[in-house]
Each structure stands twice: as C-alpha cells, then as structure tokens.
C-alpha cells in the first residue's frame, strides 16, 4: 500500500464518518489477528530464520540451501513434481473446459444436473481416502477394471506403479477427486454468458464447436487462469499420494518422491530442521509468488466501498 492510498482511505473514512468506531474494529479482529500471526506470519518468519542458520543457531548464509540443492534426491523430487504437474494441469484445463461445455450444452435439465453431481461427488474423497480407493482400482488382482489393466499389460500392482507410471497415476487420482468442483464452477460461469451473444453467433451460422472455441472459451479465460494458478500452487505440495503409495508398495515408491516428502525426511529422519526449513521455504516462495500474481492481477478486493 502506498502512502497516497493510505491518505485516500483516511480521508474517505473521515468524510463518511466511521461506520463503527476503530476501537470496535480492533476488538473484533483481535482474536483473528492473533491466529494470523501465530499460524500464518510467525511460522513463515521462523522458517526463514531456520533456513539461514545452522543447528546451533549461528548464521549460515546459504549453506542449508546449497546442501539441499546438491542433495541428489532434490533434483529427482523436482522432476517428479514437475512431470506430475505438467500432466495434471494440461488434463485439468483441457478436460474441465470440455466437460463443462458439454454439461452446459445438454438441454435436458435433469441429465445436466445428474452429470454435474456425478463429476462433483468424488471431491468428497480427498486426501488419504481417495488414494486408498485408487490403490484398489490400480491393483490388477482386486480392481473393478482389471480387464483394462491386463489389456494395458499390467498383471501385478508393482508393475502399475513403476517410476515412469507414477506422474500419470498421481495426475489421475488428483483429477478424479478435484475436477468435478471446477466443472461445476465453469458451468456456472458459462451460465453467466449472455444468451444474446450465443444466439447472434448461431444466427450468423456458427456451429456449436465454433461457438465454444470463439466465444465461450475466451470468456472463460479468467476462470481457467484462476483454476490453473490455484492448482499449480496446490500441486507443488504433493505429499499424501506418494506417501501412502510408498507405504503400500513396500517402498517400491521411494519415501522421498516429492519435495514435501523430502522436507519431511530432513526433519524427521535426519533431524535436520534447518534443511527442512530451507525446502519448505523454497516451496512457500513458489506459493507466495503465485498467490501474489493472483492478488495483484485478479482484483479480488473490488468490493471495496
């Protein structure tokens, strides 16, 4: 915030007269402010401090970062997460847009409603539950689609979870649980597009495909970007999927597959909190950068009176 902005706030406040006294304001936000400092600001600052000091608390410069970055596991964890993100984000953007357009084009009302519910319901199974469910589905001996798995050449669970298969496997799990919510959101956004525009295009001879590509998708761009940014930030945090798979596969999947797992290993296996803080900080910076882009360009504060 610049000082001129602050001045503007002060002056508008004075002109209108305060709606409530500032003492009330402070009293009402005080509890929240305590939590915000304790669990938002302080941990971040503490992670910064740990990342730049050694085990005895002495300033260590970038030593922790260079230790972590030169760890052979770090590079492979970055590759794993990047591959997973690439597959997942592309699938998310393409398929969510496609399915939302289809659901929106369905004229039969109950069918459209059932489709949305079907897409959205798996979202209830987040975290460990959805991973467990997919362990079943991906195990050729128990799977409901074992025929399909056999067709793809998989006869045992270990074959399914070879390292090369893992990024698409995690992407499928994340897509299954997460896509529905976004489909429903996009559907809502499509409903917001004025019928007149679409009708006019149709009268001009545009086909359904042309309307989708030239009118509806460009108008959805903002929502697609929103989905992409939030999903990218969340995806870098990959933890529960590889963690459970590692456990279920007798460590065929390593327990340092993702960055968050590696940070966890540093903290709990190596007792190197400084190294763990360095990795956490790197991840936090990525998230903060993404969220800052969105805050500055997304206009989320435009309800300001």
């Amino acid at each position: 915030m610049t000082s001129s902005e602050a001045g503007r706030w002060a002056s508008t406040g004075r002109r209108r007269g305060p709606a409530g006294g500032s003492a009330t304001g402070y009293a009402f936000v005080s509890l929240y402010a305590v939590l915000l400092v304790a669990f938002g600001v302080l941990p971040a600052l503490y992670a910064v401090r740990l990342a730049f000091t050694d085990g005895d608390g002495a300033f260590a410069g970038f030593t922790n970062f260079s230790t972590v970055l030169s760890d052979f596991r770090f590079g492979s964890a970055v590759t794993h997460v990047a591959l997973y993100l690439a597959i997942w984000l592309v699938a998310l953007v393409v398929l969510v847009s496609f399915l939302a357009l289809v659901v929106h084009a369905v004229q039969v009302r109950w069918l459209s409603r059932v489709l949305r519910l079907v897409f959205y319901l798996p979202g209830a199974l987040a975290g460990a539950s959805s991973v467990l469910l997919w362990l079943f589905v991906l195990d050729p001996t128990a799977s409901p689609v074992s025929g399909l798995l056999h067709l793809l050449g998989f006869t045992s669970f270990v074959q399914v979870i070879t390292p090369a298969n893992l990024p698409p496997v995690f992407a499928v799990i994340a897509f299954w649980a997460g896509a529905g919510g976004w489909i429903v959101v996009m559907y809502g956004a499509l409903n917001g597009i004025s019928n007149e525009i679409v009708e006019a295009a149709r009268i001009d001879g545009a086909s359904a495909v042309q309307i989708a590509l030239r009118i509806q998708l460009p108008l959805l761009r903002k929502w697609i970007a929103y989905m992409g940014v939030l999903s990218l930030a969340a995806g870098t945090q990959l933890f529960v999927e590889p963690q459970l798979l590692s456990q279920a596969s007798n460590a065929v999947v390593p327990n340092d597959y993702s960055l968050n797992q590696l940070a966890y290993q540093y903290a709990f296996q190596q007792n190197d909190f400084n190294g763990a803080a360095a990795i956490s900080l790197l991840l936090l910076v990525v998230s903060l950068a993404l969220s800052a882009v969105f805050v500055t360009r997304g206009g989320l504060f435009e309800t300001e009176v």
Binding site: W9, P18, G20, S22, T24, G25, A27, F28, V29, Y32, L35, L36, A38, F39, G40, P43, Y46, A47, V102, L115, V118, F119, L121, P122, L125, A126, G127, A128, S129, L132, L133, L135, F136, D139, S143, G180, W182, G188, A189, G205, S207, V209, A233, F239, L244, Q247, N250, N260, F273, A277, L284, S287, L288, A292, V295, L300, F301, T303, E304, V305
Partner: protein
C-alpha cells in the same frame, strides 16, 4: 445453415462427444460404486467374484467386526478424534472469523488494509505449505503431540474471514446498522442483534468449508501427532493400510486387515463429508467462485 450442409458430419461429431462424455461418467462413477459394493464382500469374493454385484449382509457384518476389532477398537478412537478436532476447530473458526470479517467490512481502523492483504495472500497459499513451518514453531513451545497442535492451526481459516468480509461488504446495508445505533444499541449489540442474524448464510458456508477441509486434512495431523491414540481417521487409515497383507506382505499376522475391511474403513472415513456434499453442491460453487466474481 451448417446443419443442413453437413448433417452427417455433425451427427458423427455429436456421437463422439457423447461417447467421450460417457467414458468420463464411467471414470468418475465406477470407483465410487465399486468401493461401496466392496464393503459387502469377502476377501475371496472381492478378487474372484463379479465386481459389480453386491456381496452378502453376512460378509458386511464380518468386515465390520474385523474393522472395529482392529487394535481393540482403534477405529472408534480415530473417528472420535476426528470429530473432536473438527468440531473444536469449527467452533473456534466461527467465533474468530465472523467478527473479524464484520470488522474488516464495516469498521475503519488503521491496520485494516494491511490485514486484508495478508489475509488474501495467506488464503491463496495452499495450507500444506505452512505445515512444516508450523511444526517447527510449535516444537519450540512444546505443543507438538497435543490436540491443540492440530486444532489451533485448523482454526486459522483466512478463507472464512474473506467470505464473511465479502458478505458483510455487499449484503448488509450500513444504514441498518446506523439505525440500530440511533436506537441505542452498543457496538457489540449492533453485531450480535442486527448483523449476525443477517449473516446466517455465510456462517453456514464458512462452517461447511471448515468442516470439509479439516475432516480431510492429512498432512497436518500426520506431522503433529506421533501416537496412534491421537490420530484422526484419515491418518488412522495409514495404520490399516500398513496392516493389509495385499499391499504390505510383511504385515501378515494376527492383526492383518483384509481388502474389503480396508474398503469399509475408506467408506467410513469419508461418510460425513459425502453426506454433506450431497446436499451442498451450491455451497461449494459459491465458495470457489467467491474469489473472482467481480467482473
């Protein structure tokens, strides 16, 4: 016009879109349906039987008994822990967030703008990003392992503050509050008697999100709680998984868990959220769109 020029091509296109959509419907539905059916099968029936036929009531009760007999009823403890953590966090979240959103929207004070910006930034950071830093912090004050190490971080819910802030900014007329003041209400009464009753929809919305997010939270309790007695059900599932010989051959023993039992545990672990989800599609959309609705 186009329809008359290429009727055949258009039909093929429609058929193709329909087919692809059907494939995705199957993709989303099959795992859920199969999971529900699996709870009523024996371990042998799950592998050899027809996957989409229900098993028997007898096998369901057998699975039930095995699940709740696991480690002397550990599952009951885990579900109870989940309820305690989630309900306590929900209560604190509401007590903290609603007044904060109100104050940010309808009062003026110096730190207001700063508080809004920090709230927004933290809200968009995935909550897993702060888990290890919070662990490191709580570790220094000796809170790790206690119920509070889970409840307090769960109670910090900037998204809830943001939702109430938007709601109070846009849906509660200031004149109404001013009128209440003229009638002699103090500031606290203006909030409790006028603003709060008007805010029921947003309070329900915040409660929904807090409940769903905290019930499904895995990373935070996994890091904070070292002992099985304190696990919520989501983390407890990992113990069950570790005792399932089908996935972990070294675990074959007296306490081993069969696949259908693990399926039953998965269903139980999501049942509360699934029920809430069935009735709240609109809620979820409102929440996800709250961030960017302004054109």
């Amino acid at each position: 016009m186009g329809a008359q020029r290429h009727p055949a091509g258009r039909d093929v296109g429609r058929g193709l879109v329909g087919l692809v959509t059907l494939l995705f419907v199957l993709f989303f539905v099959i795992p859920l349906v199969w999971l529900l059916l699996a709870t009523s099968k024996s371990a042998h029936g799950l592998i050899s039987g027809q996957p989409f036929l229900p098993g028997s009531f007898g096998d369901l009760t057998a699975n039930w008994d095995q699940l709740f007999g696991f480690q002397d009823g550990a599952v009951v403890t885990w579900v109870r822990n989940s309820v305690v953590y989630v309900v306590a966090a929900l209560a604190v979240t509401l007590v903290v967030s609603v007044p904060a959103g109100y104050a940010l929207a309808l009062t003026r004070f110096r730190l207001r703008r700063l508080l809004l910006v920090v709230t927004l930034v933290v809200m968009l950071v995935p909550n897993t990003a702060l888990v290890l830093p919070i662990f490191l912090e709580l570790n220094t004050v000796g809170l790790v392992g206690s119920a509070w190490s889970v409840i307090l971080p769960m109670s910090f819910f900037p998204f809830g503050v943001y939702l109430t802030y938007i709601y109070f900014s846009t849906s509660v007329p200031r004149d109404l509050l001013a009128a209440a003041r003229v009638d002699g209400c103090g500031e606290v009464q203006v909030f409790t008697r006028v603003a709060l009753p008007l805010a029921t929809p947003v309070v329900a919305l915040v409660a929904f999100f807090s409940f769903v997010q905290n019930w499904n939270n895995f990373f935070l309790p996994f890091v904070m709680l070292p002992s099985s007695d304190g696990y919520p059900i989501q983390v407890g599932l990992t113990s069950l998984l570790a005792s399932t010989p089908a996935f972990n051959p070294s675990s074959a023993g007296t306490q081993s868990v069969q696949l259908p039992t693990l399926a039953l545990a998965t269903v139980i672990s999501v049942l509360p959220v699934l029920v809430v989800f069935l009735f709240s599609q609109r809620f979820l959309v409102t929440g996800m769109t709250a961030g960017g609705t302004k054109e």
